[in-house]
């Protein structure tokens, strides 16, 4: 006779035929596919590296985000709502002035900035959960001096058992109305439009790995300048001036590899981008998802980012030669950044609690080729976040 083999599943299933009325765990369908997540995060910038004039308290952002997604119409449609609220405060780089030896001195705006941003986005997905689906998104974001409305559509379509095609696009119309426009002689109203299209192909390489390659083209047109930033143009200090058109092309490759036998997975992402302002960037991100059992999971992530300077970037122009465009915004200079982050998660039933911290260090030396003009406003920053999810299956 065979060895006895206990099987609670077989026992309960056989009993279920006799006692159908045990509703204990028949999760009713609506509750089963509603998922909600709340995130709170605090972003703090450290002190500047170089010499500084103005209030050194750098930027601080407290943000909260709530996402809810559920099924509609018996599962034919998926609806996802995201609401975000951020409170920003602290000083930010204003312009760069040369000292006696023509070395750059970063001048910061006063710490008077205290603004908040609210954003809402709605996404409707047809045939959610299947590999052939279409998602329509609409979003609106507003803060005291900036409002943005965007719409987008995204389609995923299997070509065969191993290949999925993805494509889509979005359009955003932004309205810029700077604060204290009269006081600092800034423009009072400006608009800009951004159109973005992407296409991607994803392959199932084997039972444990998938690869995705995609291209994205972003077209920006209109007021692309930062209304608050000034520029030392010889003896004058003028408002910075950027072209009113920008084309960016990006290529992205993503690789996922499962190590299910040790309850882990590897994520590798590489992104190359290049734009018509002469700014090229490389981004590599690697994450390791490690399951620790009993619902625990640890996710360390490393990220390296490098960008070259825009053609019209300079800290200042001691002897200007009629340049049409000029900006000292550090985000257009040559620099690199390396960030390490850790995220710990614990699933309890249908809930999941998560905590995370990230340290972001930027420096000219971290760029792929660290040459080019000085970038005095580079800062390090930290970000800590906490999350609560409901409806994980």
């Amino acid at each position: 006779m065979l060895r006895p083999s206990a099987s609670l599943a077989a026992l309960l299933s056989a009993a279920a035929a006799l006692l159908p009325a045990t509703p204990a765990n028949a999760a009713d369908s609506d509750e089963a596919n509603t998922h909600a997540s709340y995130r709170f995060s605090e972003y703090d910038e450290g002190a500047l590296h170089g010499s500084v004039v103005g209030d050194p308290r750098r930027y601080r952002v407290l943000s909260q985000q709530l996402d809810v997604d559920t099924k509609l119409d018996g599962g034919a449609w998926g609806l996802k709502l995201d609401a975000t609220h951020e409170v920003m405060s602290g000083s930010s780089p204003w312009f760069v002035a040369p000292d006696a030896q023509l070395r750059p001195v970063q001048v910061l705006s006063g710490a008077t900035i205290r603004d908040h941003r609210s954003a809402l986005s709605v996404a409707l997905t047809q045939n959610p959960g299947t590999s052939a689906n279409t998602t329509y998104t609409a979003s609106y974001s507003s803060e005291r001096d900036y409002r943005a409305a965007a719409i987008g559509v995204e389609r995923s379509q299997p070509l065969d058992a191993a290949t999925t095609l993805g494509y889509g696009g979005s359009f955003s119309h932004d309205v810029i109305e700077p604060t204290d426009a009269a006081l600092y002689n800034r423009i009072t109203h400006a608009t800009k439009n951004t159109a973005s299209t992407f296409a991607s192909l994803a392959w199932v390489l084997d039972r444990d790995s998938v690869l995705q390659a995609g291209v994205q083209v972003n077209l920006g047109h209109g007021y692309l300048t930062d209304p608050y930033k000034l520029f030392t143009y010889g003896a004058d200090i003028l408002a910075e001036r950027r072209p009113d058109r920008r084309v960016e092309a990006a290529g992205l490759v993503r690789y996922r590899r499962s190590y299910a036998q040790i309850d882990a997975a590897l994520h590798l992402d590489y992104r190359y981008a290049q734009d018509s302002w002469g700014l090229t960037s490389h981004t590599i991100e690697a994450s390791w998802y490690q399951g620790l059992g009993h619902g625990w999971r640890l996710v360390p992530t490393l990220r390296w980012y490098s960008q070259s300077a825009a053609r019209f970037y300079a800290p200042f122009l001691a002897a200007p030669a009629g340049q049409r465009y000029y900006s000292s915004d550090y985000r257009l200079g040559t620099y690199g950044a390396f960030s390490t982050s850790i995220n710990i998660r614990k699933a309890i039933g249908r809930w999941e609690v998560s905590l995370g911290a990230e340290r972001y260090h930027s420096a000219k030396g971290l760029a792929l080729d660290g040459g080019g003009a000085a970038v005095p406003a580079l800062v390090d920053s930290t970000r800590v976040w906490a999350g609560l999810d409901f409806g994980i299956d």
Partner: protein, 302 residues
Amino acid sequence: MDLHRYAFSSMGCPCEIQLETEFESVARDAAAKAQAEVARLDEKYSHYRDDNWLARLCASAGSGRAIELDEEAANLIDFAAALHVQSAGRFDITAGALTRLWDLQSGRVPTQARIDEATARTGWHRVEWQRPRLRLPIAGMRIDFGGVVKEYAADRAAEICRQNGIRHGIVDLGGDLAVIGAHADGSAWLAGIKAPRNPANVYASIELDRGGLATSGDYERVMIVDGKRYSHIVDPTNGRPVDSFASVSVLAASCLVAGAASTVAMLLGLEQGAAYLRELGLPWLAVDADGRTRGTIEVAAK
């Protein structure tokens, strides 16, 4: 909310339904319907009667005729088939012939010849079961729903009380308990487990606020011959009563599952039974013949 108790006798043992309700009439009505259901199941599946559905089924043994079973009977047979697999053949509803042979009131140990003869008329593997048709190929084969039907009746009675507006109550069919719902104040029911050696006193009590509790033991129908105990639980693979625990109690989502697990554990004996219960993962409590207890249920202070 007052407590209403309805005692009665069925399935050859003392039974009681305890209900907490606002109005006594609601309790009385629910208890009456529940009791009627237990009586129906007792009438239909009792192997002590010779005029009920089970008797007619057993009478077809060896006749070559296949009997078409109704939905409930077919589900009970399927449930027994699942237990047969799990217990490596020890749980066998065709052990009826052996159970009768070891008629424990007779005080006599049957001869090996008669045991072999009864064993020849036993064996689920000999039964032809193509749902919903069942054929007992050998004359004298018997079906015995022991370890299944009493526990199933307890769950059915609890379900019928729920369907008649009862939220707080418990059904006790000879020690097999099915909870309708915790006390009105949310506290759990206290279930007493009788001491195997002297069933009069309760040696342990378990808190129960949902699901079912079933206990298999050799104390109720036991025979002592020349100082040796013979229980009413027979191992069909060798035709003799089981030398196993004195009692095994299991907690589960239903009394049916609890009863099945405790009966299989009793049939597997001391070592394999304990291993089975550990592997199954349901809370369990077992007492050996010498009174040693083991298991995962914390026993509330007596």
